[in-house]
C-alpha cells in the first residue's frame, strides 16, 4: 500500500484478461505493478484479498486467485455484479481492455492458515464462482517447493453447468497429476459432458474423505455450504478442521470503517478465513 497510507491504491496494469465462462460474466484479470517497489512489498498468501480500485467508480474487495508461487503478476477473478445492485467497479473492469491501468490496495485480510494445514491431508471443496482463493491454495500446495509439506490433496469442485467451471485448463492439468485427486461435478451436464453430475454435497458424501488428520476447506454459495457441512460432520470432521471464507460488504479493508463486522470480528482484518468453530462463537449476523 502507498506510503503508510492504507487508503491510497497502488497503480497496476492489466496485462491479461481471461474470459472464464460461457456466460462471459466472469473474467480473470492478471495485474502487474507499475512500481517495482510496490511489487516487492506485495507479499501475500492464499486466501487473502485486495481492493480493486477504479477512480470514479469505487473499489471492490476481491479474493486473490493467483498463488504467491506465480511470479510477475497477481490475478483476480471477477464476476460482473449488477443483477440486483449496480456493480459499478466490476462492470467497469469487465469493459476494460488489456493495457488499462487500475488501482490495487492489499494484500488484505488473513489467509488460509498454511502452518495449520502443513503435514495434514487437505480436502478442498468449492462451488461455482467461489473457487478463486481455493484455486490459489491448490496451486500453492502443488508447487514443487511446497508439495511435500502437505499430505493427500483432494479437490471437489462443482458448477451448475460445464460452461461455468472456472480455470478449465488447470482442472485438466490437475486431473493428470497423481499427487492430487480432482473430482469435478456439474449440477447438469450437456451433450459433451462425460464427467460426474450431481450437487457438491452429494458428491462429498460419495467421495467420503476420511477425517483422520484432515482439514476441509470449503467455499461456495450459502446453499451449498448449508448442505455440505452436515456431510462433513457425519464423516467425523471437527469444527476446528472445517475452514471457510466469509464475505461482507467492505470499504476500507483494514478494519477501520466499521462496515464488515460479524460480532466483534471484522471480516476484512480478522478474517475472511474462519474455522467453523470460530464462526459458531459469533452472532448470526451475516
Amino acid at each position: 500500500m502507498c506510503l503508510n497510507n492504507p487508503y491510497i491504491p497502488m497503480p497496476v496494469e492489466i496485462i491479461k484478461i481471461i474470459d472464464e465462462v460461457d456466460t462471459h460474466d466472469i473474467k480473470s484479470f492478471r495485474l502487474k505493478f507499475l512500481n517495482p517497489e510496490d511489487e516487492a512489498k506485495f507479499k501475500y498468501l492464499p486466501g487473502q484479498f485486495s481492493e480493486l480500485s477504479i477512480y470514479g467508480k469505487g473499489e471492490s474487495p476481491i479474493g486473490i486467485a493467483s498463488s504467491p508461487t506465480q511470479d510477475g503478476y497477481v490475478e483476480f477473478t471477477v464476476q460482473r455484479a449488477g443483477a440486483i445492485v449496480p456493480g459499478l467497479v466490476t462492470a467497469a473492469l469487465h469493459d476494460m481492455d488489456e493495457g488499462a491501468k487500475i488501482g490495487l490496495r492489499g494484500p488484505l485480510g488473513n489467509s488460509w492458515p498454511i502452518e495449520f494445514l502443513e503435514k495434514k491431508n487437505i480436502v478442498v471443496v468449492g462451488g461455482g464462482f467461489a473457487f478463486t482463493t481455493l484455486r490459489s491454495l491448490i496451486n500453492y500446495m502443488l508447487h514443487k517447493d511446497n508439495r511435500s509439506r502437505f499430505g493427500e490433496i483432494t479437490v471437489i469442485y462443482g458448477a451448475r453447468t460445464p460452461g461455468l467451471l472456472l480455470y478449465k485448463d488447470e482442472l485438466i492439468q490437475w486431473e493428470k497429476r497423481n499427487d492430487i485427486r480432482t473430482v469435478i461435478t456439474v449440477d447438469k451436464g450437456d451433450e459433451t459432458w462425460t464427467g460426474r453430475q450431481g450437487f457438491v454435497p452429494a458428491v462429498c458424501k460419495d467421495v467420503a474423505p476420511s477425517p483422520a488428520n484432515t482439514v476441509a476447506v470449503i467455499c461456495g454459495p450459502p446453499i451449498m455450504i448449508k448442505f455440505t457441512l452436515p456431510v462433513f460432520f457425519e464423516l467425523g470432521f471437527s469444527k476446528e478442521n472445517i475452514l471457510t471464507s466469509l464475505e461482507m460488504r467492505m470499504k476500507c479493508g483494514v478494519g477501520k470503517c466499521g462496515r464488515c463486522n460479524v460480532g466483534y470480528k471484522y471480516v476484512c482484518s480478522d478474517g475472511p478465513v474462519f474455522s467453523l468453530a470460530q464462526l459458531e462463537e459469533l452472532p448470526r449476523d451475516f
Partner: protein, 345 residues
C-alpha cells in the same frame, strides 16, 4: 502548573492561541453550540453546556479527501491530497468527550493498520479539557457517571480548565500542556486558594452524579452476547426507531465511514465520509444479500457494537455517556434505558 485568567478576558487567551495554531472551540450557532475553528477571538464563549455534535470532527472530519483524479486520465496522474496539518488547540472539551478520544485512539491508531489522518491530527493537537459546572445539574440525557467518568476529570487533557466564579483556572496535565501554559503571557499565576479549589472540584466532580446504573465492561458485553438472539427484546427497544442515523452522527465514538468517489465534469475526489450502521444499505452486498435489513437488527448492531463487540475487541465500552444520541433522537430512543433494560433482562 496552575494558571488563571478572568473569563471576561478569555478572548485575549484565544487570540494568543490563534497565533500558534488553529483554535477549535464551541461557538454559539442557531441550534446550539458546536466546535468550529475560531476566526475571531471574540467568538469564544464558555457559556455552553455541551456541543450538539461531538468534537471528534477535529480529528475525524465528516469528509476527508483522499485523492483527486480525472476520469479518462491515467491513474498515475491521480494525486493523493496532502495532509496539511497545523498545530491545533481543541478548547473547552468536556471530560466525557476527552475520554472518547482515548477510545477512538485504540481503534484508529492503537490496533492493526494506522489511520494516518487521525494520527497526524491527534499528534498536532493539544486538548484543553473543561469541567462541567458542578453548580448546574447534569442534563437529563447525560449518564457519564455510569461509565466511570467524573464531571471534572482532568485525565486525557493536556490542559484542564475549571471555572471559579469569574475566573478560569488552567492546569497543565501533560508536558505538552506545561509548555503551552508557560508560553501564554496573558495568563497570571494562580494562588494556593485556587489550587485547593481546583483539587476540590476534581474530587467533587467524581461525586457529581448523572443518571447512573451499575455497568461493568465484561459483564455487559456478555449480557448483550446472550441477548443477541432475543428478537423480542430488540424489536421492543427499536419499535420507534426511524433509522435516521442522527445518534451516530452526534456520537463521539462512532467511527463508521464510507469511501466514495465524487466526480463532476470529469474531475473527482475520492473521499471518506461519515456513515452509519443505522442505514439500510450500509451492509448491502453486490450480490443483493443484506444481513441487516430490519430496523431492530441495525439498532442491535449499534448498541452491541458499543456495549459488547468493542469490549471483546479492544477492552473498553465504546460509550462515554455524553447523552448526545438521546438528545438528538427524534423519537426519544435512549441508549441508557436500553442498557438498563438489558441488565434486567
Amino acid at each position: 502548573m496552575l494558571k488563571k485568567t478572568s473569563i471576561s478576558e478569555i478572548s485575549d487567551l484565544a487570540a494568543q492561541l490563534m497565533g500558534k495554531g488553529a483554535l477549535i472551540a464551541p461557538v454559539r450557532e442557531e441550534a446550539g453550540f458546536n466546535f468550529r475553528e475560531i476566526s475571531d477571538a471574540k467568538q469564544v464563549d464558555l457559556n455552553f453546556y455541551n456541543t450538539i455534535i461531538s468534537p471528534k470532527s477535529a480529528f475525524f472530519p465528516q469528509t476527508e479527501d483522499f485523492v483527486r483524479y480525472q476520469t479518462g486520465k491515467d491513474i498515475l496522474e491521480a494525486t493523493p491530497v496532502e495532509l496539511n496539518i497545523k498545530p491545533a488547540f481543541l478548547f473547552g472539551v468536556r471530560p466525557c468527550d476527552v475520554k472518547s478520544f482515548e477510545i477512538m485512539d485504540i481503534h484508529f491508531t492503537g490496533t492493526g493498520a494506522v489511520d494516518p489522518y487521525w494520527q497526524k491530527r491527534r499528534e498536532a493537537a493539544a486538548i484543553f479539557g473543561y469541567a462541567f459546572d458542578l453548580n448546574t445539574p447534569a442534563d437529563g440525557a447525560d449518564f457519564y457517571s455510569t461509565l466511570g467518568i467524573g464531571a471534572a476529570d482532568p485525565e486525557g487533557s493536556d490542559v484542564f480548565m475549571i471555572k471559579k466564579g469569574d475566573d478560569l483556572l488552567l492546569k497543565a496535565i501533560t508536558p505538552k500542556g506545561e509548555k503551552l501554559l508557560a508560553e501564554m503571557s496573558v495568563l497570571s499565576d494562580a494562588t494556593p486558594d485556587d489550587l485547593n479549589y481546583f483539587d476540590d472540584t476534581v474530587a467533587a466532580g467524581r461525586a457529581f452524579k448523572t443518571r447512573f446504573t451499575c455497568v461493568e465492561a465484561k459483564p455487559i458485553a456478555k449480557k448483550f452476547e446472550d441477548l443477541f438472539g432475543n428478537t423480542e427484546f430488540w424489536e421492543k427497544v427499536s419499535n420507534a426507531c426511524l433509522s435516521c442515523g442522527a445518534c451516530t452522527f452526534v456520537c463521539p465514538t462512532c467511527y463508521c465511514f464510507d469511501i466514495c468517489d465524487e466526480t463532476l465534469f470529469g474531475k473527482g475526489t475520492r473521499r471518506r465520509v461519515w456513515d452509519a450502521c443505522m442505514f439500510t444499505d450500509f451492509t448491502l452486498e453486490a450480490s443483493g444479500h443484506n444481513p441487516r435489513t430490519k430496523v431492530y437488527q441495525r439498532l442491535r448492531q449499534k448498541v452491541c457494537h458499543k456495549y459488547s463487540y468493542h469490549i471483546r475487541k479492544y477492552g473498553p465500552i465504546s460509550c462515554v455517556g455524553c447523552g448526545r444520541c438521546t438528545r438528538a433522537c427524534p423519537v426519544n430512543i435512549d441508549i441508557f434505558s436500553i442498557v438498563d433494560e438489558a441488565m434486567k433482562a
